[in-house]
């Protein structure tokens, strides 16, 4: 059933000032339109340059339904190519990552390509003399993604030729990547410890909203926080905590804590939750590390970096950054009702091993498929996905702290429990969808 294709007006009507329509989460047609429009026209996180340290290293990744590969070039640059042979479409590589040597060789008929995708050679060359091969797409080598931005080793792509520039799109929220990278006294991060991968049977936007939802931890995570509190009972607040306790107990910090942590929204759907403090603010201090940070960055900047530990910084539509535990989550939509969530940990050059341990421990406790915290989140996302099928009420409420003036400003700083952070995502959703659909029309 086609309802929304070629009807940008109907798509726009799904997002009202203070509520959104359930079709946003349920409709496979909207999912297909998101792949074509939203995920193609925005800047989407692909991977980290440390995954491909040597020339010929590649990592494969689907973005918006397109099979891509990120490849390290002989000159040190990172390029992104389509993983599709120019001859008949075979995938050039089917491993998740590896090293291809000095060129790509298609396993089917042995056409070869340079690391930047340029055609190199093919068997029975004479057979192509006098044909149109050179002039057609198939003779030009691999398709390349033209709009690639490597920002402090975070690799983003924009698949479409239209859309905002990288800097215009992300703007001030890039400070969250700066903060995370600058937590290395050498200004360098590498992906470490592997990626935890979860399949959740819910719409990707629901997961993203939850990253900005501070009202749920008290009720959703009650079973985990109550169990942790009971186990920790009798200890003085100043007693050194095992890392797991340090990381789990703050989930039960109370409504006032989450409200006061504050939030900020930016144009294009991005946001920072916890502009004042967060559940990550009170990890044990590390005097030697802080001295190394002061030596590297100077007193003032070091203090600024270390004091800033937001709960989450959202790079709409697919990346969420936690500077303090040096961890990111990446949202990879698979279908209207299925989403792959990845949790990555980083090593910071020049920082003590404890920082990496915190990143891995946090991801393992909170985002592993065997997490002690996330089972209740996942259950509720899957429950919402079912519940929204109910008729009677077709709308999802985002009314909390709605203020008509908020739609007039690009950047707003507000209380931490304001649903503005979610409304801001949906406003960006409507804007990108409309821009893509109108350009296609």
């Amino acid at each position: 059933m086609t309802i929304y294709r070629n009807r940008p007006d109907l798509v726009a009507a799904l997002v009202q000032d203070d509520r959104v329509h359930r079709d946003l989460y349920l409709s496979e047609e909207l999912f297909a339109l998101e792949q074509e429009n939203l995920f193609a026209n925005t800047w989407v996180f692909l991977g980290h340059a440390s995954q491909v340290p040597e020339a010929g290293d590649f990592v494969t990744q689907d973005i918006a339904g397109r099979p891509l590969m990120m490849v390290r070039q002989p000159d040190g640059d990172v390029h992104v190519l389509y993983n599709r042979c120019a001859h008949k479409g075979t995938q050039l590589v089917t491993d998740e990552s590896g090293n291809t040597g000095r060129f790509f060789r298609c396993p089917y008929h042995a056409w070869t390509y340079k690391l930047d995708g340029a055609p190199l050679g093919l068997p029975l060359k004479n057979g192509y003399e006098g044909t149109q091969l050179k002039a057609c797409e198939s003779g030009q080598g691999l398709s390349v993604v033209k709009h690639v931005k490597v920002y402090r080793d975070f690799v983003f792509v924009r698949l479409s030729d239209t859309g905002p520039s990288f800097e215009d799109y992300f703007g001030e929220v890039l400070g969250a990547i700066d903060n995370m990278v600058d937590r290395s006294p050498e200004g360098k991060l590498t992906v470490g410890g592997g990626v935890l991968r979860n399949v959740v049977h819910c719409n990707w936007k629901m997961y993203l909203e939850n990253i900005n939802d501070t009202v749920h931890p008290m009720s959703t995570h009650e079973s985990a926080t109550k169990a942790a509190e009971a186990l920790w009972e009798g200890h003085a607040p100043t007693d050194p905590k095992p890392m797991a306790m340090e990381q789990i107990l703050p989930f039960g910090s109370g409504y006032e804590f989450f409200d006061k942590m504050g939030g900020r929204v930016f144009a294009n759907g991005h946001s920072v939750l916890g502009v004042n403090f967060s559940i990550h603010s009170n990890y044990a201090q590390l005097p030697e590390y802080e001295a190394a940070m002061r030596a590297a960055h100077g007193e003032a900047r070091a203090t600024e970096i270390l004091q800033r530990s937001p709960q989450n910084s959202v790079f709409y539509p697919s990346l969420s950054v936690k500077g303090s535990p040096q961890a990111i989550r990446v949202i990879r939509p698979l279908a209207a009702n299925r989403t792959l969530i990845e949790a990555w940990s980083f090593r910071a050059a020049g920082a003590p091993a404890l920082l990496f341990e915190r990143a891995m421990s946090y991801n393992r406790l909170v985002f592993s498929p065997m997490s002690v915290v996330a089972h209740d989140d996942v259950h509720l996302f899957e429950s919402i996905q079912q519940g929204l099928r109910a008729g009677g009420n077709e709308w999802v409420s985002l009314h909390r702290n709605y203020d008509p003036a908020e739609t007039q400003q690009a950047t707003v700083t507000t209380n931490g429990t304001n649903e503005l952070l979610m409304r801001n995502q949906f406003r960006a959703w409507a804007k990108s969808m409309a821009a893509g659909m109108e350009a296609a029309a």
Binding site: G194, L196, R197, E222, S223, R364
Partner: protein
């Protein structure tokens, strides 16, 4: 129960009967439950992450959480079934024993069930009252791939 192979079968049965306190009591004070993210290829729990790496404190937290009526994901409750191949004793030395047990693991909840397979590796120590677990390591066949929520203990 002096044959460590019987102990391994008993340990899995306690999980499937959801006798989680009795199960936890099988762990030594310094015991660990470990599910490496790289499966059998992983050397240690520190240089690479794990799906789970838990000491007794964390195992206790997990067991207590499962008992809490506000453990929303346990409405309806999950149930497990371990299907074990015969355990092989890899090594026995003094009061310690190392065993490998290939398995299929089914976790069922509501309309859904998940199937996992791999090898459990037990490092046991003999105590005056019987065997206890120094480490239970689960090498899943496809550990680094995307997984749905695994709520109980493999």
């Amino acid at each position: 129960m002096t044959d460590p192979r019987d102990f391994v079968a008993h340990e899995a049965a306690l999980l499937d009967e959801r006798r989680l306190d009795d199960w936890l009591a099988l762990f030594a004070e310094d015991g660990h439950y470990w599910v490496p993210l790289l499966g059998a290829a992983q050397a240690d729990p520190f240089s690479h992450n794990s799906l789970a790496y838990e000491d007794r404190l964390l195992l206790q937290l997990r067991v207590d959480r499962l008992k809490n009526p506000r453990a929303h994901s346990q409405h309806p409750a999950s149930h497990s079934q371990h299907v074990l191949q015969p355990s092989r004793i890899e090594r026995e030395e003094g009061d310690e024993a190392w065993l490998r047990t290939p398995f299929l693991y089914v976790e069922a909840r509501g309309e859904n069930q998940i199937l996992l397979s791999g090898t459990a590796r037990h490092h046991l120590v003999r105590t005056p009252t019987g065997w206890s677990i120094r480490e239970k390591r689960i090498d899943l066949l496809n550990a680094p791939r995307a997984l749905p929520a695994i709520q109980l203990f493999i």
